[in-house]
């Protein structure tokens, strides 16, 4: 392991206590995608693995917090903490706290209660997903609501950040009434603490399985990425299946970890029980990836080299044709990308007028044509035959 340490020894934090850390997990729960994965890595196995990961996060620091969101077909659902719960905020703010658990839970006497609470909450809320209306076939095929889930996760992280710093939360609640300004102040100050003192750190892990085109959520996603950047919240992405360029870029932009995990194909196609056992290989790999790749929080990451592909695919697809472009135009208002030459005078996404800088539209000239005037005089041939004139 000694090859991994990128520490500058001088920069080790002086305060002895590690800052509390919030881990927000966004789980893509598109039924179609999970059904597709059922033969190699079923959702139940992933959930079990995530629970171990979450428990480890809670166990390493008693002040650590966890939030889990499901980015479902046509809605974003809280898995933990359960929002309808009267004291949901209480539950979350003292994650490891000692909220009373219903009688039935007491049966499992050998489980640490906070672990149990999370497990039960997630299990219950996941089942609620099924009781809601069965989505249409068309809806199932639509991309997951990642932008929405990210916005909720960021808002939640921001709230926790403010709660963790009474000074800024105070100014935010009793502010001068100008909501925007107070918010900004809080942000700035939170940012300051995040950079200097590390009062409270936060990260978001997106577990993505859908092979989906996120372009319809582009603006929301971009805004989320900027917000995450500003709040110093890395967006970690664990991609199960093929890579997606956009999520990789989002993760790179926020100094998050982007990893793809390809579950080894299970050979057994037997009964349920047999299958569960054979998934253990895929699950073990997943657990290893989670623990080794995503376990460190922002404070720890300062001292570590994080895993991930060395090369990020920064290319973008144009909005007009979906083509990958090397050189394109970007709307300065909504950040939509277009290929060149531009086919419109105003942005098709936001209707802002587009003006292309001269350097893009001017045709490069490598060879000076003869002046028309000269041709009239009749001595042009000589000039052009000489090729490119060289000034002395």
């Amino acid at each position: 392991m000694d090859g991994v340490d990128a520490t500058v020894r001088g920069s080790v934090r002086t305060s002895s206590a590690a800052p509390p850390s919030l881990l927000t997990i966004i789980l893509d729960t598109n039924p179609l995608s999970w059904s597709h994965l059922s033969s190699s890595l079923p959702l139940s196995a992933v959930l079990k693995t995530l629970l171990i990961f979450v428990n480890a996060h809670l166990a390493i620091n008693h002040a650590n917090q966890v939030a889990v969101l499901a980015s479902h077909v046509d809605n974003v659902a809280w898995l933990y903490p359960t929002p309808d719960d009267g004291d949901a905020s209480k539950q979350s703010s003292q994650t490891n706290g000692h909220t009373e658990v219903a009688d039935e839970h007491r049966v499992v006497s050998n489980k640490y209660r906070p672990f149990l609470t999370i497990e039960k909450n997630i299990s219950k809320n996941l089942r609620n997903l099924l009781t809601s209306d069965i989505p249409s076939a068309e809806a199932l095929k639509s991309p997951p609501l990642l932008a929405g889930a990210l916005s909720i996760a960021l808002a939640y992280a921001n709230l926790q950040l403010l709660k963790a710093d009474p000074m800024t939360s105070d100014s935010a609640s009793t502010g001068t009434g100008a909501v925007g300004a107070a918010d900004l102040d809080a942000h700035t100050s939170a940012l300051r603490t995040a950079r200097s003192g590390h009062q409270f750190v936060s990260r978001i892990l997106i577990v993505s399985v859908s092979q989906a085109d996120l372009s319809s959520q582009y603006i929301g996603l971009m805004n989320s990425v900027f917000a995450a950047q500003r709040l110093n919240i890395p967006l970690d992405v664990l991609r199960i299946g093929e890579r997606t360029a956009f999520l990789q870029q989002a993760s790179d932009a926020t100094s998050g970890v982007y990893l793809t995990y390809d579950p080894p194909n299970s050979t057994a196609n037997g009964t349920n029980g047999a299958a569960t056992a054979s998934f253990s290989s895929a699950t073990a790999g997943l657990l290893q990836t989670l623990m080794q790749g995503y376990f460190s929080d922002v404070a720890a990451r300062k001292l570590l080299v994080m895993p991930g592909s060395a090369e990020v695919d920064f290319r973008a697809a144009c909005f007009c044709h979906g083509k990958i472009v090397d050189l394109g135009g970007v709307c300065s208002v909504c950040l939509s990308i277009f290929c060149l030459p531009l086919e419109f005078t105003s942005c098709p996404t936001c209707q802002s007028p587009l003006r292309v800088p001269k350097s893009v539209t001017t045709k490069p000239v490598a060879f000076a044509r003869r002046k028309k005037k000269k041709r009239k005089i009749g001595d042009g041939g000589r000039d052009s035959a000489a090729g490119t004139p060289v000034p002395n």
Binding site: P31, P42, L129, L130, A212, I219, A366, R369, G380
Partner: protein
């Protein structure tokens, strides 16, 4: 700015003072009787249409000012007779000189503007500082234009002197270009060098135009005790001037005492240890702390600020800022302990520093303020912002809404949606999903040997990527490349200049300017030479590698002679030209790309042109 000009005059048989305001906006006539009466006549200098003065030969000095008020029917004449018995002529000059200047400016602006009656400033109410600010603003804009910046060699030189890294880059690029057979002329090079860096020039120009203001001089003057215990005091001429300017009282005392009662040096050495000094500085002291100096101590009770008047003549202080108001209304609210909330009571440091800041700011021409007499920085908007709003409701959201159209339809085919799809029906998928969900998640995971192997191989993959990233994070070191430090340095330098030339190339190439094709051709040549330069460094690296291997061989031989044993040949083939090319791979690619682009365009345009000639 000029000091206010004053002269004793007779106007319409009334004795009085003729004066020009500091900002040269107004000419005022103030009668002597009754004392401290307000000016009875105000002439806007912007409305002056003519100025006449008695010739220098005549004994009686008088001045005629012809004024055309905006919208007024006819010009009005004002005649002032200078009444000073000793210096009438001089006072008349003092009045006339600034007026002549203003008048000349008026002429200029009226000839340029179509409306002859337009005042100099944007509005009649615009006071001097604002008008001046506008003038400087427009000047600054000129100064900061691209063209000016690009041609300001002294500015460029000053920036290069300041920024060593930039200077080095400039020199490298310049040297390379100068060595070419037919060098690009200096002015062309300088333009190419600076045009992508115009923002640096602009920032530097802004920086240079900033000047330092005055400072609290008392805090800078400190008596120093040397090794022998002798206290010395260093006081510069500028500091004395500042003290006089900031503390008129000191000037008065100085006038009173020097040289009749004290010598210059004596005065200052006394002053800096006096109670008066402590008081002016705002320090607290007791009589026992500081020795008495009767000559100076008698001024102790003198209120320094009394004769300067309130710094900012505000007709009414906003209630919520009015500390005095607190005193009158609810002294108990603020308690008796908080000196900062008590007017006049606090003669301590805070108040002194405030006064000091006020004085210093008063001498700075404000840039952002139209009302000279308003409190500092207090316009309507600021006032609104300062108002207490704790009981108000939330402000209306003033965000600009962005109307987003679904771009989805724009795509040629929305095939790339949820990929893994068609084979499974949604109903089947839902039931599959349901089955997966209903499985209990609380049960422990069980791992066998296969899963442990899987975990290990996953871990190995992660470690590999970590190591790969680490190598990207670390700077190029000789160990990694096998190249020597000097070779790496010259590689870096070659890279820098090449990138520099690439900048020039694209700048000219994309300008689409036919007149610059010659320049462009030369840049392409230069770029091509960059490749040769890289090659040269690579050759150097090869030689170096051979030398290294030769050294190693000799060493081995010697070892063999000495010990009779052979060391296992260390096949150290790292380094050399290959390593260097690896290092500069992307640089070379960029050059080749530029070249290809140029060649293609060139061929195309030659062909086109040829076709045109034939038609």
């Amino acid at each position: 700015m000029a000091p206010p000009v004053k002269a004793s005059v007779v106007y319409k048989k009334v004795d009085g003072i003729l004066s020009i305001t500091k900002d040269r906006q107004l000419v005022l006539f103030t009668p002597n009787v009754p004392p401290s009466s307000p000016p009875t006549l105000k002439i806007h200098t912007s409305e002056i249409r003519n100025l006449q003065q008695t010739p220098a030969t005549k004994a009686k000095v008088s001045v005629k000012i012809v004024v055309q008020p905006p919208g007024g029917p006819a010009p009005e004449n004002y005649v002032f007779v200078f009444s000073s018995t000793t210096a009438a002529r001089a006072e008349a000059e003092a009045i006339m000189d600034p007026l002549k200047e203003v008048y000349a400016n008026n002429l200029k602006s009226t000839t340029s503007a179509s409306t002859p009656n337009a005042p100099v400033g944007s509005s009649p109410a615009a006071s001097g500082p604002l008008a001046m600010a506008q003038v400087t603003a427009s000047k600054t804009q000129d100064v900061l234009s691209d063209a000016t910046l690009l041609s300001d060699f002294s500015l460029q030189k000053s920036l290069l002197d300041k920024n060593a890294q930039l200077h080095q880059r400039f020199n490298e690029a310049f040297k390379k270009l100068k060595n070419e057979a037919d060098a690009i002329p200096l002015d062309q090079f300088s333009k190419q060098f600076w045009s992508p860096r115009i923002h640096l020039l602009r920032a530097h120009a802004m920086e240079r135009s900033q000047t330092q203001g005055t400072y609290n001089v008392f805090s800078a003057v400190k008596p120093q005790r040397n090794n022998e215990g002798v206290v010395t005091l260093k006081l510069s001429k500028e500091q004395i001037q500042l003290i006089f300017a900031q503390h008129p009282l000191v000037r008065r005392i100085y006038d009173d005492l020097v040289p009749n009662r004290k010598k210059e040096g004596e005065f200052w050495s006394d002053f800096f240890v006096s109670r008066l000094f402590r008081k002016l500085k705002g320090e607290k002291f007791t009589a026992s702390d500081v020795a008495a100096i009767p000559d100076l101590d008698k001024y102790l009770d003198y209120n320094e600020d009394a004769d300067t008047g309130p710094l900012f003549a505000v007709p009414n202080i906003p209630r919520f800022l009015d500390v005095e108001g607190n005193e009158q209304d609810h002294p108990e609210t603020y308690g008796n302990d908080d000196e900062t909330q008590r007017p006049e009571k606090d003669q301590g440091l805070l108040r002194k520093l405030n006064t000091m800041s006020g004085k210093m700011m008063a001498n700075v021409a404000p840039f952002d303020r139209s009302n000279l007499h308003g409190p500092v920085g207090m316009d309507e908007k600021t006032f609104d912002e300062l108002q207490l709003k704790d009981l108000q409701g939330a402000e209306v959201d003033n965000r600009i809404s962005l109307n987003i159209k679904e771009t989805h339809g724009l795509f040629a085919g929305s095939s790339a949606r949820n990929g893994q799809s068609s084979t499974v029906s949604s109903a089947a998928a839902m039931s599959d999903f349901k089955r997966q969900l209903l499985e209990p998640i609380g049960t422990p995971l069980e791992f066998n040997d296969t899963s442990k192997r899987q975990a290990a191989s996953t871990s190995k993959g992660l470690m590999k990527s970590i190591k790969q990233r680490r190598s990207l994070l670390s700077i190029i070191s000789d160990a990694d490349t096998g190249l020597s430090r000097p070779t790496i340095d010259s590689a870096i330098m070659t890279h820098n200049t090449t990138i520099e030339f690439l900048h020039y190339f694209w700048d000219v190439y994309l300008s689409g300017d036919e007149g610059r094709t010659g320049e462009l051709a030369k840049l392409v040549e230069t770029l091509h030479k960059s490749l040769e330069r890289i090659e040269a460094v690579a050759t150097e690296a090869d030689t170096e590698l051979q030398q290294k291997q030769e050294d190693q061989r000799l060493k081995d031989q010697e070892f063999f002679k000495r010990t009779g044993k052979r060391i296992r040949a260390q096949n150290d083939a790292s380094g050399g030209g290959k390593a260097l090319h690896d290092l500069l791979k992307s640089t070379e690619m960029a050059v080749k790309y530029a070249e290809t682009q140029y060649q293609r365009t060139y061929q195309e345009q030659v062909a086109q042109n040829g076709a045109q000639v034939q038609t």
